[in-house]
């Protein structure tokens, strides 16, 4: 009887497992075809001199990596990417927090409207944003016309052709574009803080700044780590904005790593160069590693303590039960 019950239980478990695999199968297949396979193949391509068509015949070993790591243009693109990532994270995440705190105020009228307005850039196509901003920040664009008309400047500012200004413009626009989504994350975090805490603080005579310092910010720490990590990772994908706004110019001064990869993978012939898929793949591998390192370092810095605490608790519990 006992054995029969056990065998029924096992059959039930097997069935459950089988169904779990059946339901997982489509996702696993899609993952292998569209994620795992391209990733593995980009590693393979990176060891070849290859134009993207025809057989892989010219094995060059680590030559592509060597050439990349000794290339000024590659390092310049890495530096531009780092500036962009850090800039958009500081401006985008910081600005979104300020906005979220303002829009979380119970007394504020028309919150829904303001939230929609700030969220609008998130759902706007980045390429279109790039083109429109190109007109706004052009030599004869709206920004210069405005500054000239109010006599702040006496000649147009080369927003998009000065390398420093162009990177700043990219950062500002990139931050503005991501402001809405970060604001939503912050709002979710703010709304998870119990109101009782604020009420008690008010009874104790705490003002806005002390409430912010001693209640809001400390309780937002866990979500802050997630928002910053997401912002850092999304900052690595600046391709569409950079391509449409500056196209990496002047003289590659605003070329980010993803645009660098694109330029070598596809669009070189018209620019007088050669298409080098193997070289671009090697750059892609390095970009992947760069993303991984950023995520790991930041993850360790943000969640390290929590993970250690969790492990210690688990160990303690394990000790009690033993």
């Amino acid at each position: 009887m006992e054995q029969k019950r056990k065998s029924n239980l096992q059959t039930l478990k097997k069935r459950k497992t089988m169904w779990a695999y059946i339901f997982l199968a489509p996702q696993i297949i899609v993952f292998f075809i569209f994620s795992a396979y391209p990733i593995v193949m980009s590693y393979v391509y990176s060891f070849y001199e290859w134009t993207g068509i025809g057989p892989l015949s010219n094995f060059v070993g680590l030559d592509n990596y060597y050439q990349l790591l000794t290339s000024d243009r590659f390092w310049n693109s890495a530096v531009v990417s780092i500036y962009y990532i850090i800039g958009t994270t500081i401006l985008g995440v910081g600005g979104a927090l300020v906005l979220a705190i303002i829009l979380n105020d119970q007394k504020l009228q028309g919150k829904g409207f303001y939230r929609a307005i700030y969220f609008l850039p998130v759902v706007t196509t980045t390429a279109i944003v790039g083109i429109i901003m190109g007109n706004i920040f052009g030599i004869n664009g709206f920004a210069n016309q405005l500054l000239l008309n109010v006599n702040i400047i006496d000649k147009p500012i080369p927003w998009l052709t000065d390398p420093v200004l162009a990177v700043i413009v990219l950062i500002v626009i990139g931050s503005w574009k991501g402001l809405g989504i970060n604001m939503v994350y912050w709002l979710a975090g703010l709304q998870s803080i119990p109101n009782e805490l604020y009420e008690s603080a008010q009874l104790d005579g705490a003002g806005f700044w002390s409430t912010l310092r001693h209640i809001t910010l400390p309780l937002l720490k866990p979500i802050a780590a997630v928002i910053i990590l997401l912002s850092l990772v999304s900052g690595i994908n600046a391709f569409d904005l950079v391509k449409t706004l500056t196209d990496g110019g002047p003289n590659f001064a605003t070329e980010t790593m993803d645009l660098f990869i694109y330029n070598f993978a596809f669009s070189s012939q018209l620019g007088g160069g050669q298409v080098r898929m193997g070289y671009a793949s090697a750059a892609g591998v390095l970009l992947g590693m760069f993303t991984f390192v950023i995520s790991m370092v930041f993850g360790a810095a943000s969640f390290g303590k929590q993970i250690t605490k969790f492990r210690m608790n688990k160990k303690k519990k394990g000790g009690v039960s033993a």
């Binding site: 052709t161 000065d162 002047p250 596809f266 669009s267 007088g272 160069g273 050669q274």
Partner: protein, 478 residues
């Protein structure tokens, strides 16, 4: 009772659905049969100036051949699109040239067109139309030639409305840089700064072309990126540096419209057409753009100004503007019908009648839409001069060129010139010198890997700058 009526309604509904679906099926079948009779060829075009002309050509062809339809699409990112199609095995039946021909032949992606281009047909084309890795590979034709090899040299367009308004005449058209600056200052003064003397554009390739062409008036032995006397690549020349310096001076002195460093060709043409600038530097195809896209007719053409008014030139056959056919096409018969029709009608319809440029075929009739077309033709014949093409004597050079250029970070000097003009590079000579050295290093390093190619293959002792390098000159060296 209720149950019976429920079943009756159900049966009726099913019957109605069956009848309706049968009817629609018949209609669909008819449509499908009609569709089966029509073969659709896909055609990707990357040349904006050919759009209108190709549409007219296709309309004429479809009227004459109702069973063949051409589905033409414009490709804004042609290289990306074609490479993606190649890797997916989804190449259009026809496309305008993109991706190195040798690469396409290597993977068997492009169709041999020898059966259309017999020797008799080939003889109908301009000299210099047929060359290795352009329209031919190993002597066989793989590209249906479109534009004349003696085209694409940059010229100067001048706005006659602006000239009339400021009291300028054709005698004021500048031939030297000094004259250009003088007339530029006069235009600024007389228009009160409302009209810029020149509007230019920012793509790196256009800047490289401009300084290279202007530069040949100073350093004629380097028409593009090779020195055929020394037999080595050469990016750094006095001509290019001085030309870039001249362009920067125009910008700094306010003679060139400041937006020149931000805008593309199309915007520059539009600014010129609305009278915001007196001059525009561009290629032969711009006549059609001014006339067709900007509806502006009152302009003239002249050679670019050079340092001392000396002549300049551009290497003919710089680009094999042509149609290529997929080797995987399932409709070769229909493609051939289209190409044969194109052979008779394309040059007149697409080039001459629209003014989109100069056709590859010689002695083409037609009626240019603007009178300046013949002036452009004359200028291009004078300025686009055939220079040696080393691959004509040694086909291994095609593979060699690809290999040595693969070692380069940057394919040319265009971006450096843009960087210099916008003030981001102070020492252009040092910057181009570095690119020049990189190119030479890659060249000589690759020579050691290719025993079948030598530096001698790049030396042409019987070549004189400004003298067309014709077939008989190659024969002299064989």
């Amino acid at each position: 009772m209720k149950r019976r009526s429920f079943y009756a309604i159900g049966v009726l509904a099913v019957a109605v659905m069956l009848v309706l679906s049968a009817c629609s099926g018949e209609e669909n079948d008819d449509a499908a049969n009609e569709d089966e009779d029509v073969v659709t060829l896909s055609f990707w075009n990357r040349y904006p100036e050919l759009r209108g002309g190709l549409e007219q050509l296709i309309a004429g062809f479809e009227a004459e051949h109702p069973h063949i339809k051409i589905d033409k699409q414009e490709t804004p990112e042609p290289e990306t699109q074609l490479r993606t199609a190649l890797s997916e095995g989804n190449v259009p039946d026809l496309w305008t040239n993109i991706v190195d021909l040798s690469e396409l032949v290597e993977v068997d992606a492009v169709k041999n067109l020898d059966e259309i281009f017999t020797d008799e047909v080939k003889a109908q084309f301009q000299d210099g139309t047929w060359y290795e890795n352009g329209t031919t590979s190993d002597g066989s034709v793989y590209g249906f030639p479109l534009a004349s090899p003696r085209s694409k040299a940059m010229i100067m367009y001048y706005n006659k409305d602006v000239f009339d308004m400021l009291g300028l005449t054709e005698a004021d058209i500048p031939a030297t840089w000094e004259e250009f600056k003088t007339i530029g200052q006069r235009i600024l003064d007389e228009s009160g700064g409302a009209i810029y003397p020149i509007v230019w554009n920012n793509p790196g390739w256009a800047n490289e072309q401009l300084v290279s062409m202007m530069g040949t008036a100073i350093t004629p032995e380097v028409p593009w990126q090779e020195n055929y006397r020394e037999g080595e690549p050469q990016l750094l020349t006095d001509g290019k540096i001085e030309s870039a310096t001249f362009i920067k001076e125009l910008l700094d002195e306010g003679i060139m419209a400041p937006q020149s460093v931000e805008v593309g060709l199309g915007e520059a043409e539009a600014l010129f057409a609305v009278g915001q600038s007196a001059f525009l530097w561009s290629g032969d195809w711009v006549g059609r753009q001014l006339y067709g896209e900007n509806e502006f007719e009152n302009w003239g053409v002249a050679p670019l100004p050079t340092k001392d008014g000396q002549p300049y030139y551009y290497h003919a056959g710089s680009e094999a503007t042509s149609i290529r056919v997929s080797n995987e096409t399932e409709h070769w018969e229909e493609v051939r019908t289209f190409l044969e029709y194109a052979l008779d009608h394309l040059y007149e319809t697409v080039y001459v009648n629209t003014g989109a440029g100069l056709p590859a075929k010689a002695d083409v009739g037609g009626d240019p839409p603007f009178e300046q077309y013949h002036d452009i033709l004359e200028l291009e014949n004078e300025l686009a001069i055939p220079v040696p093409k080393p691959a004509e004597l040694n086909p291994d050079i095609i593979e060699f060129n690809r290999a040595y250029r693969n070692k380069l970070e940057v394919g040319g000097i265009g971006d450096a010139v843009v960087g210099y003009i916008t003030g981001n590079i102070d020492d252009l000579e040092a910057e181009i010198g570095k690119l020049d050295q990189d190119m030479k290093d890659a060249f000589f390093e690759t020579l050691e890997e290719f025993p079948e190619v030598s530096q001698e293959d790049y030396i042409y002792p019987n070549w004189q700058p400004f003298e067309p390098y014709t077939v008989d000159k190659y024969d002299e060296l064989k």
